[in-house]
Each structure stands twice: as C-alpha cells, then as structure tokens.
Symmetry: D2
C-alpha cells in the first residue's frame, strides 16, 4: 500500500533493490504524445550519475524497457509500463547483517510494519534505487508537459551540501533563465565557484566513512496562473506529498518558507503590479502560489535531504532477532551524499505533479 499515486497521471511503482526488476506503470496518459527514448534515458542517466566519483560505485545500467502503451513512437492512451532489470546485485552483502537494524534506515520500521517478511536486501522496496522508476515516470511526465504546456520548464539547483551554502535568489526573474545558465548541469549551482567546496565536503565525509546532507531547490517557470485546487489539492499539498516520498527528505518549504514566520505581513505580501500589460508580483515570497493556486510567477521550493544513513563508521544499534544491543559497520557501496543524484528526482516528481494537474 502506498506505491500508487495520482488522480489523472496515475503511477504505480514496484520493485526492490535486489529483486528481478523495478519499474512503473502509468495510467491516464493522453494518446499521440511523442515519447523519445533518448529523453527518457537521459533523465535516468542523470539520476544514475554514472562515472561520478562521488556516487555509489554500483554500476546500475538502468536500461528501461517500455513494455506497453507506446506504438509507433507515440503514446496510445493505454497504460505505459516500463521495466528496469536489476543487475550487479551483491545480495550476499546484506544477508550477513540482516538482523542488525541500520540506524536512520527503514530496517526497523519495515520489520515492524511487515512482520519480518520484507525483502531486506539493500533496503528492498525502500531503497533509493526505487527513485529510478520515479525518474522514469517523471521523464514521461516531461514529455507530456512538453506537448501540452510547452512554456513550462522544470529545473533544480543544489543550494547546499553540508555547511556549504549557495546564495538565495531574491529576484524571481533569475529563475526564468537559470536552467540554461548552469555552468555544470551535472552539479547545478547558482554560484558555480562553490562546486569545489561542496565536493570537498563530500570527499571529507567519505574519508571519514561518513556522509553529508544538503538542500535542493526546485523551480517551475513558464507555468500558467490558475493551477491547483484548495484545500487538499493545493500545489503545496500535492507537491509536498510527492517530495516527501523521496527517501531522505526531511523538510519542504515554498517561497521564503520558514523565513516568513519571523517577518511581518507588509514584508511577506507580494505586491501585485501591471507590467507591459501583464500581471506580476514585485517579490516572490509566496513562491508563486497563493491559496494553493499558481499565480504565474516561478514556483520555487526547497527540499532538505538528510545525510545518507548508510555510513561505514561503526554505529550503535540493536539485533532484532536477539533483541540485544549491537554494533554495526555497514560495508558495501554507498552514496556519501545523495544530493548529487537527488536533484533529478526532485525534478521528476515535480513533473509528475504538474502533469497530474494539467491532464484532463
């Protein structure tokens, strides 16, 4: 329960880290939308971060096979199913330590929730690997949006890694071209000079057999005003639900977020102005959303990722079979900082959310 989402762009994701395969079925697609396999694979490759020395050395091919729903290169209107076979799995790594609950992971909670029947290998269905089906579904969503809302652009940037923070963007006009301005799209920063310091923070954590967290900022530009439904289908409600589905996310804010809490209404209210015959706001403290509905300004939100819980350092935990205290050193392959692979996932769920709003 819980792996199905959507009113109009309905996704059902499946798979485990070390099972036969992972994938997604998408129901609700309109017919006649061109599906470019290269676009899909490109998004999967961004997430896979192949060749990135800062990412897990596990070679995830992430080759997607489309099983249904596409005919002659276009959607048919029938469900589109995609399958990624698992490869390069070393399940043995996990069997040895299956009773040692990895702190910060879902090992203990899934054990309780599923009575010990969960697939414990590599976190099973809870694995970050399940973000690949999300990215696949997001890539399909991007194809849909490209066709039905061509102005809309979905982007993201790394705002912080560990304590290295990129600066805030106070002028919303910057977001309108930001996606094209990244010097290194594989490490998207507003201030590209911070890449060195951020990577150093990751390497430092790696050397200590530790990990670091970070912050991703997502943005949607060129969106039309009038998207979203109060109350429970506000943009914030729908998008936050998807963002919190991404493993390791511990916080989501829109616009100026928690900073608005310490300010006055006269500072936070975004004054409306006519400009060249169009309605704009002067500031964008509300992140492009009022009353849960888009106002036409860039939709901007921040997502906090905690440090990857898998670390090599020895940790205190329990042995769930023996019900005794224990210590654990996690071996195997891990991402020292999930943020460098997570921003495409943020974009993917954003595209899914927007497609769900915009499809009929």
């Amino acid at each position: 329960m819980g792996s199905t989402w959507g009113n109009k762009f309905k996704i059902s994701i499946f798979g485990e880290s070390h099972g036969n395969g992972i994938g997604a079925v998408i129901d609700g697609l309109p017919a006649g939308i061109a599906i470019n396999p290269e676009h899909i694979q490109h998004e999967l490759n961004r997430r896979a971060a192949r060749g990135n020395p800062l990412a897990t050395p596990r070679k995830e091919g992430d080759q997607i096979e489309i099983l249904s729903g596409v005919f002659n290169g276009k959607t048919t209107g029938a469900p589109l199913a995609g399958l990624i076979r698992n490869e390069n799995t070393r399940s043995g790594d996990y069997a040895k330590t299956k009773d040692l609950m990895r702190p910060g992971h879902a090992d203990y909670t899934s054990n309780i929730r599923y009575g010990g029947f969960q697939d414990y290998r590599g976190g099973g269905h809870f694995s970050g690997r399940l973000t690949a089906p999300l990215v696949f579904a997001g890539a399909i969503a991007k194809e849909i949006l490209r066709a039905i809302s061509p102005q809309m652009e979905i982007g993201s940037r790394i705002v912080a890694i560990a304590d290295v923070k990129d600066k805030a963007i106070n002028d919303w006009r910057v977001y309108c071209h930001l996606k094209n301005d990244f010097i290194n799209p594989a490490f998207p920063l507003y201030d590209a000079k911070l890449e060195v310091a951020m990577k150093a923070a990751i390497i430092s954590a790696m050397e200590d057999e530790d990990s670091v967290g970070g912050i991703v900022e997502g943005f949607i530009t060129g969106s039309l005003p009038g998207i979203g439904n109060p109350f429970f289908e506000s943009i914030e409600s729908r998008l936050a639900a998807l963002l919190f589905s991404i493993p390791a996310v511990k916080g989501v804010t829109f616009g100026a977020g928690f900073e608005t809490a310490s300010k006055r209404g006269s500072e936070v209210n975004d004054a409306l102005r006519m400009r060249d015959g169009k309605i704009e706001t002067v500031t964008n403290n509300n992140g492009g959303i009022n009353g849960g509905i888009s106002n036409g300004m860039p939709i901007v939100f921040q997502v906090a990722f905690k440090p990857t819980p898998s670390i090599g350092k020895e940790q205190q935990t329990i042995n769930i079979a023996a019900l005794k205290d224990a210590t654990l050193k996690i071996e195997g392959r891990h991402d020292p900082c999930i943020v460098v692979r997570a921003f495409p996932v943020v974009e993917a769920v954003t595209a899914i959310c927007m497609a769900d709003f915009l499809l009929r």
Copy 2:
C-alpha cells in the same frame, strides 16, 4: 475540486466565509464510537479563540449541528455530517473592494482559476474560516483515536512568533508529558515565560496595522511503531499534504528538518538501543519516522505560518477589472497573528491523518 480527502477517514469540507454555512461530511467512520458534543465544541472553541484580544473581533459562534451519523450518542457507521451556520457576517465590507486583489491572498489566483465566479466575500472558500470544518473533523478523529488507539496523544506548541523563538526540545522524552505541562494551554509554550514577549510582538504589529507569522510544532506520542506506507503514503507525505492545506502554511519539516542537511550521517542517524526490554532510539533527529513509517518515538514536526496577509497598512496591488495598478487599505476585522489560533488546526489535521492510517 480538492476539498475532499482521505482513504478511510474520508472528509468533504464545504462552505464560504459569508455563505449560508460551512461544514464537513466524514465517511468511513466505524460504528459504536462515543461522540461527546463537549469534546467537539471544546476543539471548535480553541480555534475560535473567543475572548482572546489578539484574535479577530468577529464573533464566530461556531456552534456545530450534527446532521447525521450519530444515534444515541454513538457513531452509526453512516456518514457524519456537521454544519456551522455563518453569523455576524458583514459582507458589505468586501463588495467595495472586490476588484482590488489583496496581496498574499488567493484573490488573484482564485479569480484566474474560477474565471471571476468565485465568492469573493471574505475570501470565500479560501477563508481561514474553513479551518473550522477541519477542526470539527479533527475532533471526530480524536474521538476515534481515543477509542481505537488510547495511548496516542496529539499535541502542539507555539515555537515562534515573529522573531521570538522558544527553545528546541532535544530529549524526545519531554514530548511524552509536554501536553500536560503547558502553563497556559491557550498559548502552549515550552518556556512559558516567552508568552509576554510573543504577545508584545503581536500587539506591536497590530499597532502598526501589520501582522506577524510564527512556527507551530506538532507532536504525536504513544503512537505504535509501524504506521505509514512507502512511498506516497509515508507519514510525511500524508501529513504534509494536510498541513499544507491549512491557509498560510509555507513550510513543513519532520524531526531535525533542514538542520539535518548541514550535518553528517553519524550525527543524524538515531542509534537504536534496548531499554527495559523495549526498542528505543537515543536521539530523535528523524522525528519518529524512518522510511515513511513510525518507529515508536514521538512523531515531531514543525509548521511555518506566514504573517496573516490581511493588514491595515496601505499596499500596492492591481485592480483586476480595470487592469491597472492601485493601492489598497484593507478594512474590517483581521487576526494580527494566525498562529495563536492555528495550533488547534495543526492538531486537527494530525488527528485526521492518524485516523486515516489507523482505520481499517
């Protein structure tokens, strides 16, 4: 669209600030649960903040009439509908300025979304007044939880108002008795001495015809481990969706939230330990949730409220009929700080979320 929520505790809320009435229908309730009208009214009174000089002077009676679903004091298993008549409405206040889009409000976005047909009086369906049906539904949810999960307690505290901040609670055991320790339950603070400074900040804003925001922390104690479903029905996903439905919420975090982003895994991972035969974590940086599922520790989350957008100060805006720049001074009755009335709403949606998880 969007005023309906829930898988098992299904709510449908309706009404406008100045229409005939507001209310909610709740479908999915088990039969035989005692409904105490005093409990319900108590929750509505907490939200109404009657007599509180810091709240809007609008006299909202908020007397609930239960239309169906209760027989001989107990739920029947059929839908439970509740109706609150609107009283003391001064609709004329709004007609004069209906074309002046109040900054920070849903006036402009609802105008676009509904083509000008929305009920503009007092914000219509977008009004904070619609939190009364949420509190009503939450009160019913609390009755359900009292019956089916008696250990579970849902509480909240004010963490910040303007720039006056209460301290962080680092020991999760504090939450287990916090609800009973508040010196002023109508202004729940960990450090009760801050009440004076917080109220002073509100009064200062009032005097300036302005408003202030703040932060509410919600917590659930006595919850069983094993609640929640990855991915899209994680506790974070479901609860955040409801929290972001509350007007003025701009951020939601769980556990240590954005602070985890700047830390290392070894600092954020909550070590598991056996204690008196039970499994506990030493710290609670994950806010009682791993992999979207409760781990038995207190579930803790923070909610950022922006300052009330209705302020008396003159603001820049547009006239939507004339498509011209304009200025606006909002008259009428407003809350200078919604936080003092919002914490019961935070508790209400938390109860709704938990009832939805726990009902069969």
Copy 3:
C-alpha cells in the same frame, strides 16, 4: 464508508430517514454554471411523487437548501452542499419492532455490519429516502451537462411493472425523440395504453398488502462518441456501479443484455454504415457502447427493481435480540411499487456518471 463516489464529479451523500437531515456535497464543479433552483426542485418533486396515490403517503417536503458553492446564481467552483431537512417523521413506528429484522431489507445485514449501532428508524442510511440526495446531485449534474454538452439528453421509461411489459424498442432512432413523446411524463411509457394495466397491478398488490417490482430503461441520446475508459472505467462499469447503488436494484443490462447470450455474433454485431456523412450502426444491440466506450448511438440500459420489501402481509423472520423465530407485520407507510418513483433516480445517477466522465 461507501457514501462517497466520483473522480471528477465527487459526491458525498449523508443522512438517515429519521435524522436531522439528508443531503450531499459535490466537489469538482466548474465555476460559472447557472444553477436554476426550479430545475433542482423539479427533479426532487419527480422523485417525491407528491399527490401520487400509488406512492407512500409520507409527506416529504424535500425542500433543498443550498448551503455553499453557488454565488449570484452560478457555481463558484467550490463544493456545492445541499441540505434537506427531515419532516413528518414518525420514529415511534419503528422502535417497537426494531429487533424484528424485516425480510428483504438491510436490517439484518446492517445489524451485523455496524454491530447494532446503526440508526434503525426507517432503515436509517439505507432508506430509499437517501435517493433524494442522489436526485439532488443528479439535478446539479444535469445543469452541468446542459452547459458543457448541450446535445446530451438523459431519459427513462417504465418497461415493466409486475408482469405487465411494455414492448422493446428495436429502432434506436426512436430514442432520439422518446423523451418528448411521453403522453404522461409522470408515468413514462412507450405504449401509453399500458398505464391502466400497470396501475391496476400496483393497486391489486396494495389491496393484498403486498408490493410489486418492475423494470426501468434509461437512455442517453446526443452523446458524443468516445466517452469511457477501458477497463475499470468503462461506461458499463461506472454506470452499473451507480445503478446498483440504488436500493432494490437487482440487475443491470446494456443494449440487448441477456438476449445477446443466446444469439450468434452475426446477429449481435452492429454493422457500421456511413449515412449522410456520419458514422452510424444499423442495429444497436451493444447499447451504444463498444469496448466500454460510447459509439455515438443512444446508450440504452435496463434496470431491474425488485418489489418493495416493506409489505403489510405477515412474514416469517427472526428477533435479533432474542435469537428466536418470529412473525412480523410491517405497519406504517410504504410504496407498493418503487418503480413509479425510481425512474428519476435512474436518470439522476446517469447524469452523475456522465458529468463525472465529461468534467475535466
């Protein structure tokens, strides 16, 4: 659970036969649709069958109060809630016999389902009275369809009462004007001469303190081809689900229904032909639906209603409190044949179904 329905035209119905009131909340309506209170009341009056000597003598005022969602005579896009107060209830009639399970009613099953906590008065939430909220929602749906699909017409006729059967309509063109051809719209028959015999069958049953069943045929004309979604949202699936929600319905067929089972493909397949530049079928054995999707021909379906289970004749039953055999003579006011009031309900749920398909 179960009183909520719809993907886009979402309804939540509530109420009991002898509670404070019954009603419905409709979420998902577009803004700007004119709502004519006379249209709504007209539909409710058709169901109430006031003054009809063949219907229950209970005077059900069925005056609807619209609580929300309409402003200046048009929908606002916010949920539309309607309330009908219960009047003229004689609850005492039911208390005396509450332990005697009325055969054919939901008394026993609701007792099991809700552990005895259900409102037993007049069938509670199971009462045929709950079809009034359905008719209210259907009337709103008709207003929507009038605006967004003006050619579409929804009608119904009585096909049989007891063993008096009206003839089959083999030429689908007849349906295109049938609604306007009924000689007595309050007793809609293809062959109007049968009214006398049908009413005689009802009166005969009344005199015997018994009841009779019958068949209603619904039809939709002027519908566009291309409505419906395989598999689970076929027109048949969606419409049958709603039709079977009407109390006393025991069968639903589309087109030639069970007759197709005994025929050959060459007889049942509807040949396609061009006619005046448009695509038509020669016959309409498939009832206007292929593969769950409308083909542009009239959508035709039949609905079997069993005889009203409330009869004055003595019946064998059990006493649920004593767990003993018992006999029961039901007193009070009953419909000897629900069909004369049910055809507007069939139309109502058909309108709800079509609105759900056609809204975006």
Copy 4:
C-alpha cells in the same frame, strides 16, 4: 485512464495483444502470505484453455514472471508485479485491415477515443488477452483470501451457451458443495449431460464461421455476513463494476435478478429463520446481499456474455480512413465462444473484489 482499480487491493493492468508484454501491479498486499506459483499458473492455464479445440488456436504460453513483491515464497508487503511476455503474435494479420472497423469490437470507439493512436493490432489494450493479467491478479487475490478468510470459496458454472440452458438452482445449499461436484471442471455444469449439446452449439457456429454467447453464474460461499458498504461500495456496485470490465459482458444480475421485477414482495423477500443456532434465509432471491451487504448466504450472480464479435462471416462495416462503406471478412484465430474461457475470469474479478473488501 481506467486500467487501475481498488481501494485496498489496488491493481494496475497494462499491455496490448501484440506489444512486448502484459501484466499487472498489485499494491496493498499484506506481508507474509504464501504465494504458490503453481496456483497462479493453474488459474492462468484455466483461462488459456490450452488444448481445448473450442478455443482460439493461438498458443498463448502465459508464463508469468513475478518481478517484485515476493521474497522467500511470501509476499513482502511491497507491490507485487507480474509480467507475461507476448509470444506467437502475428501482427501482420491486422495491419492489412486496420482501417476496417470490426463490428462489435472497440475498433471504432478506440479510434475516436484515442485519435487513431491506439495500438490496433489484435485489439491492442482492448484485447481479451488482457484478461490474463486479471486472472493473475485474481490468483493472487485467491491466495490472500485463502489466508485471511479460509472458509470463503469462489466458484462459477456455465449456465447457458447459445440457446442451451442449464437449470436454475433454487436451493442455496447446493452452492455450498457445487464447486466440488462438477464432473468436468473445465466445463462446469450443474447438469453435466448438457456438455454435449453446448459443445455442439459451439461447433455449429464455428462451422458457420460464426460465434455464440452464453451465461456464467458466479458464486461465493462461506463468506461472512457483513461485507459491503452502502451506497457506492455495495457488493453489487463493486462487483458489477469489475464484471462489466470483462470484455463482452452485457448484463449482470444478483440473485433472482430480472425475475424479481415481475414478482410480488411476498415472493421475493427471503424469510429469515434460526437453524441450529445460526441465522439463515429460507430462499435466496436476494443472492446473499441485502442493502449492499452480505447476509451470509451464498452470493450468487449471473453474467451475460455476448457472442465473440470476431467472426469469419462477411460483415458490413466502414473504412475509417476512406469514410466509406466496406465489407470485412475477419481472418486469423478467434474463439467461437468466449464463455468456455471466461468463467475463470469471472472468478478472478470476484476474488479481486472480495480481497479489496476484506483487506484492511
């Protein structure tokens, strides 16, 4: 849209007759349920009717690969995905005649619905082949029911083929052992002697390059009373929705169905009686359901299947590209009577429906 169903046993089916594969994802399964691959394959084989000379000669291997959700032979609580590769497809058969809309098929309606982008080969997503994923999901549902409601048995029988009709079963006790009494479980008849005549009717149609329809009766025994929710989630509503999802179904009745329409209440009401300390009904005209809720008697329902629309005889139709009248002789492989393969599908969706009701 429309290939997803379920509140608690959520299925998403995908695939086309001639695409890469067909399958289903099932979300909402409890953990720890034994999944016996032989049981699954047995159900698929019943539907495939391999070796049956009366079924299509297409060799459908229908080997299912479980991709996820099962670990060490038991469900994990994560989504269970199953994939059947398409084999032995002769797509060329269909390309030649793709513009000739096969009467009685979804060719024309899907062309309208999907703007010509649908996969036309073998009916694409509308193919009867898509009942294989339904049977797969039903087999999983049967495993669940076996574990959580061991008394429940789901069975079916062929009631009619063409104009050869088996007799009605008036004593509900017969259903309690009927499943074990079938002389030929691959052709389940109450009166086994009719097999010859029924098969003769099929062969006669085959020889005429035609097809025949029939009726299947489904039954559920050993079910507990108290399953079902008024209004929209009555057993009838939920089950009928699934039954009408099966291609070629044109009618669904419960209990005495349309026969109740011509009878009196005193004949149709099922008298309740105590018998050996248990509550029973004397007759079962209501098919085990009152007010949408099971009463503990066998749940009995009939399903009308129209004749397979694919026939070899020449038919009148249109050419959708030329918008001209045309004639069509369908070549390739067809079932002369779908009923002989459809009864396991009826059982499958019944199991899905019951699992959806009974899961928490």
